[in-house]
Amino acid sequence: MSDKQLTGAQIVVRALRDQGVRHIFGYPGGAVLPIYDALFQQDEVEHVLVRHEQGAAHAAEGYARSTGKAGVLLVTSGPGATNAVTGLTDAMMDSIPLVCITGQVPTHLIGSDAFQECDTVGITRTCTKHNFLVKDVDDLARVLHDAFYIATTGRPGPVVVDIPKDVQFRLGEYVGPSNILHRTYRPRKEGDPARIAQAIDLMANARRPVFYTGGGVINSGTRASQLLRELVALTGFPITSTLMGLGAFPASDNKWLGMLGMHGTYEANLAMNRCDVMINIGARFDDRVTGRLDAFSPGSRKIHVDIDPSSINKNVRVDVPILGDCAEVLAAMIEAWKARERPGDAAALAQWWQQIEGWRERKSLAYQASTETIKPQYAVERLYKLTRERKTYITTEVGQHQMWAAQHYRFEEPNRWMTSGGLGTMGYGIPAAVGVQVAHPDALVIDIAGEASVQMTMQELSTAVQYRLPIKIFILNNEYMGMVRQWQQLLHGGRYAHSYSEALPDFVKLAEAYGAKGIRAIDPADLDAKIMEMIDHDGPVVFDCMVDKLENCLPMIPSGAPHDEMILPDNQESAGVSDAGKMLV
């Protein structure tokens, strides 16, 4: 073997190393054995064995979102690849950079319905940003470097590299990551200065402005979050954010209105509804945010900063589209704002803030406290109070608990909040927590979970035990698929079809069976002490927090309703959903 010749499997490991990858998540199988063999013979790239390939994908997502780097997973052909599809789709929807390496049957067997064969590139074509089938070992290194480049730049996303087993054995040339310039893919970073000037013009003359920010700010890197804070401080404008954008702006700041959208605060949604200038930075006018499109912020001029041209004018027509990376555009906006003489209408802004304060008075996140049962909101509040001084990362599953976490856990920093937004994948939280903990071994990583979601990927607790990852699974157990039940209550006459979590396992015993610690809390009076016990335990914990079974997640904009028709804690009795709204999800 000449010194530049490597096997395909060695090329994979070498490329991972040269891309700065320290950890990958995976599961072995026939079609990836050569790569596992190459991994076994080195110690620069560490492999974390999951229990199901979906777990590998979510763990890689958690890793990516908490570090800002690409997450990497390695799975075998056929079922390995199809099991990863949910995680890939999740990453696609939430713009998370992943590189997924899949094994494939040998090239001469492709198309023959061979054992564990599936059309991986066909199946993953629409749930990846791009995918490759590598049939020639001499293309392998370049393709892998391209995959990292495509996954992490522009609007990030998952990339699949499918490698037939014979290509993994064959000898080929390795090329390093430098000097790779893609033929067609060159995402643009800087915003158009003329458009930025137009945007600053609108902002400087705004009377009722609002920042509406999203996951794009987080994806753009910590610099974008810093610049966002600077711009908000300079302008004095109120700011709200999507579920994906939480943490880019500190929740403790008085300019912060809380999350917006279907379960957003009254003040955030009313500010969106009544504003005259909306500054969307890295958000995509998702339907959970806009509600009824024809009543969405009817009186505003809209600025939209996005790196993806297809996000512009997709759901909502905007007046000033700015294509570019959030950090670059924010920096240019700050400069342009500073260059003006006394920008902004101070008197109008003061009046606008006064109006917003009035909306804040409604206290839309309020709930009925209880000394009998643990209210789920109270549980999240206590969790927040008892963990705020630590370096804490929160992941979630999907449902009511997710919204309560978003509402009541207050994020000060970006990359601390990992949740499945676009796809809404139940079962995301445990494996994501595994990924976060691998990246941040000393941090406190908590999956705020529901008892239904958590059972979808419960087996990853075994991964946490194996690698001594002290993740905390904090289950708000109301014995219902709570969000489904809430919708059935509102839309389907309280007929709770299959939303009761029947035959639940004893989560404490389950934790112990896995070799983890189980804690159960029933009495609100014990909650703090038990949360402290969870935090202080040096190892994975399943916390079974028995909460009020029928609590609804409020406030809520019912489907088909505009932002100013919210169900609030104090008007929930009279609320109804229109027939048209029932057609929507």
Binding site: H130, P298, S300, K314, R317
Partner: protein
């Protein structure tokens, strides 16, 4: 005074008129490139009226795909943006809006008949400058090239004269003037 709202705040307006668009898409001729383009139309619910594709630059391995589609102006804009997002796509132009273009299509048309009908078919083919590329005592196969409107007109005329089979290429298009894509 607050500024007047300038946003039309919903995109899907059932009343807005659908127009026809001819999109020229320059792609890297790699495995799956066409599947990505076609899959995008299917997955997002866009409509394909015709599709042609062939490698146009053998040195750089680029292909040109021409798709005729239909939709409101907003939908066409979204289709172009979504196509632009595909990694192997170099460029997308709309040969109605971005640059006015010319369109041509070819059809092969088999007409079976005898006597006056057969004579009439041949006479009309001359008017349309169709060429006869296969002939038997009872049939002609015509090759006709032109705008889709011309092809439609010729087909319509051939139906009562014994049209039995038809094969069309779909539209190819190129921009007018000296500028290249």
């Amino acid at each position: 005074m607050p500024q007047q709202p300038a946003s039309a705040y919903f995109l899907v307006d059932k009343h807005s008129r659908e127009t026809r668009a001819t999109l020229s898409i320059l792609v890297d001729n790699e495995v799956g490139a066409l599947a990505r383009v076609v899959g995008l139309f299917a997955g997002r619910g866009y409509n394909i009226e015709s599709l042609t594709v062939a490698e146009t630059d053998h040195l750089r391995h680029t292909s040109r795909i021409t798709i005729v589609t239909r939709g409101t102006a907003d939908v066409i804009e979204q289709i172009k943006a979504q196509l632009g997002r595909l990694i192997p796509v170099h460029r997308v132009i709309d040969l109605a809006v971005d640059k006015p273009g010319v369109e041509r299509e070819m059809a092969l048309i088999k007409v079976v008949g005898e006597g006056d009908l057969r004579a009439e078919a041949l006479r009309l083919s001359k008017v349309f400058r169709a060429r006869v590329i296969d002939i038997t005592h009872t049939s002609f196969t015509f090759e006709v090239t032109g705008s889709p409107v011309k092809i439609e007109a010729f087909i319509e005329l051939m139906v009562p004269l014994g049209l039995v089979e038809l094969s069309r290429t779909g539209v190819v298009a190129i921009s007018r003037g000296i500028e290249a894509m």
